[in-house]
Symmetry: C2
């Protein structure tokens, strides 16, 4: 038995940096696939490339158009390879149309002076909190166990956009760069929370900064992450949101910075 996330991440190499994938019903969003999965597929495509050098440092995914159910193709190109890092340009095509573009920087790491300046919010652990189920029209959410501390969607307007949730794959799955990428996108548009309702909204652009090394991922295993999010400004059709993903032990594994369109 395989994991839904691994099924959805499956890519077939077509040679020349091209990979074929297929949309996966368990990861559908209200319209098309969950953006976090699309971002994870792009990271995975680079990981599969035989010339790949190092681990992900950052990826920016621009959601240019809808992805229809069925096959898609990801093209990867190593634009420039330096001694310690490598720059990629990626496109997701479907029937000759570009649906998604991305850039990624992969690289190797070295021992340096380090500092965990930001501190994880001091919140209760996940054990005493009931998991929340999303409406079934948001199929992908069933692949995550989410225990909300703040920002669970209600039908009333919220005074702020702050979200805090203990989250992990359901069923649990050891954390890797692809799943960390996907987890960075699991906060619904902050405008839903502020307005207390679903409305037409979606991520236009997602930038993930990776702090985690392979050792950090192994240390985390399949335990809960603490994910936090907030938006700064909702202005004439677009708002931002920044997510922080913290390990169970309290270190920052990744951040996700989004630009989201909305109609309201």
């Amino acid at each position: 038995m395989t994991h839904n996330f691994d099924d959805a991440l499956a890519l077939e190499s077509l040679g020349d940096g091209k990979y074929r994938g297929r949309t996966s019903a368990p990861f559908n969003n209200m319209v098309g696939p969950f953006g976090g999965l699309t971002a994870a597929l792009l990271v995975r495509a680079v990981e599969l490339h035989p010339d790949r050098h190092g681990d992900p440092l950052t990826v920016t995914v621009n959601f240019a158009g809808p992805i229809a159910e069925g096959d898609f193709e990801i093209s990867t190109r190593a634009v420039r390879t330096n001694r310690s890092n490598q720059h990629w340009y990626l496109e997701l095509h479907q029937n000759g149309t570009i649906a998604t573009t991305a850039t990624a920087v992969f690289g190797t790491r070295r021992d340096t002076w380090d500092s965990d300046e930001a501190v994880r919010p001091d919140v209760p652990g996940p054990d005493g909190i009931d998991p929340i189920d999303f409406p079934t029209m948001i199929a992908w959410a069933a692949n995550y166990e989410m225990r909300y501390l703040a920002g669970a969607l209600t039908e009333t307007e919220a005074v702020d956009s702050v979200g805090q949730v203990w989250i992990r794959d359901r069923p649990p799955r050891p954390l890797d760069f692809a799943s960390l990428t996907s987890l960075s996108d699991t906060f619904y548009p902050r405008v839903f929370q502020r307005r207390g309702k679903y409305l037409s909204a979606g991520t236009i652009s997602l930038t993930v900064h990776f702090f985690a090394t392979a050792e950090d991922l192994a240390a985390q295993g399949d335990d809960f992450l603490l994910a936090t999010a907030h938006a700064r400004r909702f202005h004439r059709g677009y708002h931002d949101q920044t997510a922080e993903l913290w390990s169970t032990a309290g270190t920052l594994l990744a951040t996700g910075h989004q630009l989201v369109y909305y109609k309201d």
Copy 2:
């Protein structure tokens, strides 16, 4: 008499979405040109493109390699144009080598429910604060009037990476999207502040989210912005930093999210 920034931004159209520029000594950094200028040039190249649709919503610039003094070429490609937004892929070439890649999303805006959720820090205005000059090896800094409230570089280690500065072009110049882009990169690497020294460090990737509309830029004019910055984690050769750029009137005009490499 023209402004240094306009001189440095000058691009000659070569047709087919290609533009030729030239490095500008007043915008040199310790090694190569100031990254904020490079980001601004990429935004400007799209602005000059006859097919450009709307204003900048977000740009991600990946600094893949050094730019040598002299001519360079920017290639722009509208990957996909939708009704309300347009997705771009950009490269900066020099002598056949790719030095910089970028993606950008431009778009039009609509009237919506809006909210300024984040609030500008409550700090004294710029009038009573002495401007700071950077060492002459950081030539570009002379193009900015910087009045530091917090985080001016000293030779002692700082307990945090927080920076706060009133900043504008020197001499003053009406704000536009290109200069807003450049301003988002005017914080030196936060590791300098933490360590109280210059060391080998540089931006790998810069993502700017634009909240400002053309009307917001016109309202700001050439007055001081309040820029704030902080880093979350310094870990095995890379740290992040997030900058917020606030108008004189207190609205958020843009954010910049960076990944910075360092050796220490």
